[in-house]
């Protein structure tokens, strides 16, 4: 059974996604739409970390590992198949499986907090270094060269299932991306209502108590981590569709940004990370067009300000503020 509140949130989110998918392509210019698709794909990535960190207590410094794996698998598979239809399930399965395997390694090894951070960070860095060093001719999977530092600029966009001749246009890909984000949000909300989701939250609250109640903490964490890997992989597929895959997807700067999106948006919420992601991405892009101030300086200053001024993240702070205002409204 889904509670009223959750149902409402899911309803609103799906409605917003559908509205955005229907309306935005009509009113936005093509370039804005393509940029928006990039942001949305990263929003899915932010959501994945928001879920496992905010609700499972798994601080993953390397969520980009699954993002990149999803993208690369999609690119390599669709170039080899000549059709994107079967590339998608493959590109979802691989990051999920890798997340499960890595989760097995960490959680069954009882590795915790900071150490887990290092292992996940290291994983994405290994993938980064590896992908970066595949510029030579010997690095080929089937008919697809891995391209090293360049990545694979020829990543094919989605085609109509089983019809490789009909590729989707950027505005259609935008619609798909927005719907994916909406569905991921709804799925995350629903997961948190199930026993599995509630136990995961309980594990975040107190691992020992959950264990003493007979729940296999390691299995739950591994499963949640795999769900996160799945979502990040989906984000990677969407990203590959509007940009193309390159080692940057695994890079330290992306890995760090995801964490910042979640923190700025509000940890312990699902919408927060998505909002944080889109805000910061917009800002980064805007900063690149400014010539009077270094973009890094601007972003850095904003992050520091955010930590000191809105330590809980934007969404929770805004919700609290609204609640306060509403209360004041009631009183008067």
């Amino acid at each position: 059974m889904v509670g009223f509140r959750t149902g409402l949130q899911i309803g609103v989110a799906l409605m917003a996604a559908v509205l955005a998918a229907v309306l935005l392509p009509r009113y936005l210019e093509l370039f804005t739409l393509i940029n928006a698709t990039v942001f949305v794909s990263m929003g899915v990535l932010a959501l994945s970390l928001g879920l496992i960190w905010g609700f499972g207590g798994i601080l993953c410094f390397g969520q980009t590992a699954f993002f990149g794996l999803g993208g690369y698998t999609y690119a390599v598979a669709s170039i080899n198949f000549g059709d994107t239809t079967w590339a998608i399930p493959l590109a979802l399965a691989l990051p999920t499986a890798v997340a499960a395997a890595l989760g097995y390694l960490m959680f069954y090894g009882r590795i915790s907090d900071v150490y887990m951070g290092v292992i996940t960070l290291t994983t994405t860095l290994i993938l980064f270094k590896f992908a970066n060093s595949t510029a030579g001719d010997q690095w080929k999977i089937g008919s697809s060269p891995l391209g090293g530092f360049n990545g694979i600029p020829g990543t094919p966009p989605l085609n109509v299932p089983f019809d490789p001749g009909t590729q989707l246009a950027p505005d259609q890909i935008f619609v798909i991306a927005v719907l994916c984000l909406g569905l991921c949000y709804a799925a995350a909300k629903l997961i948190l209502r199930t026993r599995f989701g509630r136990v995961s939250v309980a594990i975040k609250e107190n691992e020992l108590r959950a264990e003493l109640l007979g729940y296999d903490v390691r299995l739950h964490k591994m499963a949640l981590f795999a769900v996160g890997g799945f979502m990040a992989g989906l984000g990677g597929i969407l990203f590959a569709n509007c940009v193309f895959v390159s080692p940057t997807m695994f890079s330290l700067s992306y890995a760090g940004q995801v964490i910042i999106w979640v923190l700025v948006g509000g940890i312990g919420t699902l919408a927060g990370p998505v909002i944080g992601c889109i805000l910061i991405q917009t800002l980064t892009t805007y900063a690149g067009t400014l010539s009077m101030i270094d973009p890094n300086l601007l972003l850095g200053a904003l992050f520091m300000l955010a930590v000191v001024a809105v330590p809980k993240g934007l969404l929770p702070t805004a919700t609290n503020l609204l609640a306060k205002l509403a209360r004041r409204g009631d009183e008067s």
């Binding site: 136990v199 609250e205 108590r209 959950a210 264990e211 003493l212 007979g214 296999d216």
Partner: protein, 238 residues
Amino acid sequence: MTVLLSTDGLRMRFGGVVAVDGVTLAVNEGELRCLIGPNGAGKSTFFKCLTGQYKPTGGRIFWRGRDITALDPFAVARLGVGIKTQVPSLFDGLTAMEGVVLAVRRLHGEAEARRRAVRALERLEVGDLGNRRIGLLAHGQRQLVELAMVVAPEPDLIILDEPTAGMSAEETGRAADLIRELNREHAIVVVEHDMQFIRTIAHTVTVFHQGRVLMEDSAEIVFKDPRVRDVYLGKAVA
């Protein structure tokens, strides 16, 4: 009477220190057993071995005759063992009701789990706290909510580690009543160093000293034994 939980020559060493040194012990169904001993006698280490938090370095643990040595805590719990730790271990971000529901949700569907959770909270006389956030409760209330979580799945055996730690005299009295009440339906092992408390509830008492079992007998006999007094007063035992 069948043996529920037993150990055979259980040992636990940390580096050069042997905290539990060959403990053999058996708890029967329906029994109320107290493990006592001064600080550092090895009780808590023994408790953590029983609950799977430590993997013993020697000896074996049996549950209804089955070897369960080195099982993980969740697997121990699934056998039907309810465990309460010394420092209350709770889900501070959840409400009391949510916490207790989760305790039974492993075994039952949602509706049934809710019914049982309500019953457990009422049984511990904290039915009115269901909607409160656990993190905001007072110390005594937290102890009771934790007990509700332990009791709710109706385990065959409850293991309590120092249940009276940090309690006032009055609260300790109530805790004693509660344990006796719970003992009507569950076997209980209480790890405790407060002799007064043990006196009010005990049937069979096992005394730990320097990682070994010093003696094991009914409460009256144990408390009269000079060796036990010496242990508590810090005299060396011959």
